[in-house]
């Protein structure tokens, strides 16, 4: 199939014609991700607005554990590598390797979520709960929403793994893995922004 027939013809034969010339699923996923930018933009802006207005309770710099969060961030970054390797493997028709990378990605995602649960628990023990002050509310809502997205991603990865075990993710359905991959990478890029703006950049109060 790779010789004599151009890629365009092969794709045209497999895809029903669309007005964009691309898979509608892919266009829909990118549109969804573009809309998610607005959701996380709102949450990040709210956090930036309120983090310097703490009148009672711990401030950002009092509770953040930068080395711990740095390791969590690294884990999530590396999960993007394993995810793209899963997409690459299924595109090459190697289902076993794809499953391996899917599981690796899910495990790295679980490690990240475990870290977040540990962080939240520590903060609560240090006196910073959801309703302690405006900073804590903005922080927990932002990172909680992100954690929920990661959790949904893990569920999708494990579902893909199960489907693949049943032989329902052949090479011809590589786009399914690619769509989950796009979602996973998006969750990663959102964390890249959160890690910098929330954890690393000093707050106006001077304590973070």
């Amino acid at each position: 199939m790779e010789t004599g027939i151009g890629a365009h013809e092969v794709v045209a034969a497999e895809h029903p014609p669309t007005s964009t010339g691309m898979s509608n699923t892919k266009v829909a996923m990118w549109t969804f991700l573009a809309s998610e930018c607005l959701l996380f933009g709102a949450l990040i802006s709210t956090y930036l607005l309120y983090r310097g207005r703490v009148v009672s309770g711990p401030k950002p710099g009092d509770v953040y554990d930068i080395p711990f969060t740095s390791v969590s961030s690294f884990v999530l970054l590396m999960s993007s590598l394993t995810m793209v390797l899963a997409v690459h493997a299924i595109a090459e028709g190697d289902q076993a390797k794809c499953r391996t990378w899917l599981v690796a990605t899910a495990l790295l995602g679980m490690t990240f979520i475990s870290g977040q649960v540990y962080e939240f628990t520590t903060f609560v023990h240090e006196g910073l709960a959801l309703t302690t002050n405006v900073f804590s509310t903005a922080f927990f809502v932002l990172t909680g929403f992100h954690g929920a997205h990661v959790t949904v991603g893990i569920i999708m990865l494990l579902s893909l793994f199960g489907l693949s075990l049943d032989g329902k993710i052949p090479q011809s359905r590589a786009e399914t893995v690619e769509m989950v991959g796009l979602y996973w990478h998006f969750v990663d890029v959102v964390w890249i922004v959160i890690f910098t703006l929330v954890y690393l950049i000093p707050s106006p109060g001077g304590s973070a």
Partner: protein
């Protein structure tokens, strides 16, 4: 359904609005991941450098963050290789979110 399935791993989907460019190899993905790790280490190192003024620290951290964001979006999400339409869709979302919330933050923080 997938272009990959039929024309091999190295060929991205082709569309009327898109260009066909080969997807990266495993080695290239690993190199991008190493760069991401190094940049993250650099960010954390900057955080602990007391000598840098806040303004410069913020500018450098945002710059490093933008590099990481771009690397993941362009290489792992294949925006560099897939159709321009997808790139425009995502960039529109980012610009819309960025400008709307920049105005919101300016409104509340500068008054």
């Amino acid at each position: 359904m997938s272009a990959h399935g039929s024309v091999g791993a190295e060929v991205a989907a082709v569309g009327a609005h898109g260009e066909q460019r080969p997807h990266p190899s495993v080695g290239q993905y690993v190199r991008v991941a190493i760069i991401l790790g190094v940049v993250t280490a650099g960010e954390v190192g900057l955080y602990y450098l007391q000598a840098i003024p806040d303004g410069m620290l913020i500018a450098l951290l945002v710059f490093f963050s933008a590099i990481k964001f771009s690397l993941v979006a362009l290489w792992f999400m294949h925006l560099r290789f897939d159709s321009r339409l997808l790139r425009r869709l995502f960039v529109t979302g980012i610009i819309l979110a960025g400008s709307v919330y920049a105005i919101v933050l300016a409104t509340f923080l500068l008054r």
